[in-house]
Amino acid sequence: MHDPHVILKVISKFLVPFIALFAFYVQFHGDFGPGGGFQAGVILAAAVILYALIFGLDAAKKAFPPSWIRIGMSLGVLLYGGTGVLTWILGGDFLSYGVLAHDPTHGQHYGIIAVELGVLCSVTTVMIAIFYAFGSRQPEVNEDNW
């Protein structure tokens, strides 16, 4: 018996890296075009979720272990807040990125990049967490039934 989902598997295996690549494009292109941490995080999560939908939750959990989720969630918030704490240490107000570099505009750039990375981290992991949480509860859907 051949795999009934061979077409889906081949196509999605091809697409997942592109989706992830697009997520990073959105992330780092956010300064120039539409986009930013939220959108990029969601798209990155969508890549993992697509993988989980096609190859099953177990395979996805191997690719993106649940243990990363707790860490990633906190890391995102800490990265964002940590940027603010760094500006405190450098003597500015909370989240005043201007103090991060000699030139205030450069400081702003660094700050925005760091902060957006934090958002990316949180959003990706939380979206995947929600999917894992709901996906794990359902009775295993039979291969032939979907």
Partner: protein
Amino acid sequence: MLLSYVVSPTIILDVALMAILIIVAFSIVRMRSLFAIVMLQGVYSLVSAAWFVSLDAVDVAFTEAAVGAGVSTVLMLAAMLLANRKSDPVPISKQIAPLLVVLIAGLAMFYAIGDMPAYGDVNSPANTGVGMDYIERTTKEIHIPNVVTAVLASYRGYDTFGEAVVIFSAGLGVLLLLGLNGNAGRWTARPTGRQIYPPIAPSANSRLIASRDNIKLSKGSIIEKPSSVNLRKSKNNRLKDKGNN
């Protein structure tokens, strides 16, 4: 052709998109099949994303398309698989109060329409206030082309920090309540001293005791932990549903 001189084409587009939104919203309300509702919500998000594009709010549209139409549809589908395929019809008596709320809120908004600034008015407070300043100042102070990113991450970075924490706490809530492996808590709280009276409340292990308070609740399927029998039944139903499509 003549019409386009009178009304600008984007207005026609806006009105058409809004009309689609209203129709979709109404059909979501009227629909009983959860699967259709989830799909229609995806449609709703996509159409509103298109509408945001026509309003030149590309960033919002992008977010709406990615979150509303993309991930949240999948998440809702995943959640839907745990519930019944169809929602129970709500009795009319329970629909009156929400209907009144919606009507009053809607009428209040209609009441305000008369004094609202015109659509796309350049001189409206929203367009002359801080918005313009942001555009001016971003080029001077932050030097990035996308003003939206500048506002979100720098001028109002504290808000975005709050949003990140909102997402974090949503994730935390999921971890607390569901766990990542689908093991909702079966752990039962227990007083340290001697339990004088038999527990009045149903806790994690015990089934529901029908009391005045929770007869109502047991209808919402949140409470009932599906036993294996239930699961099998619902699975059969699901298959049957597919067959009937």
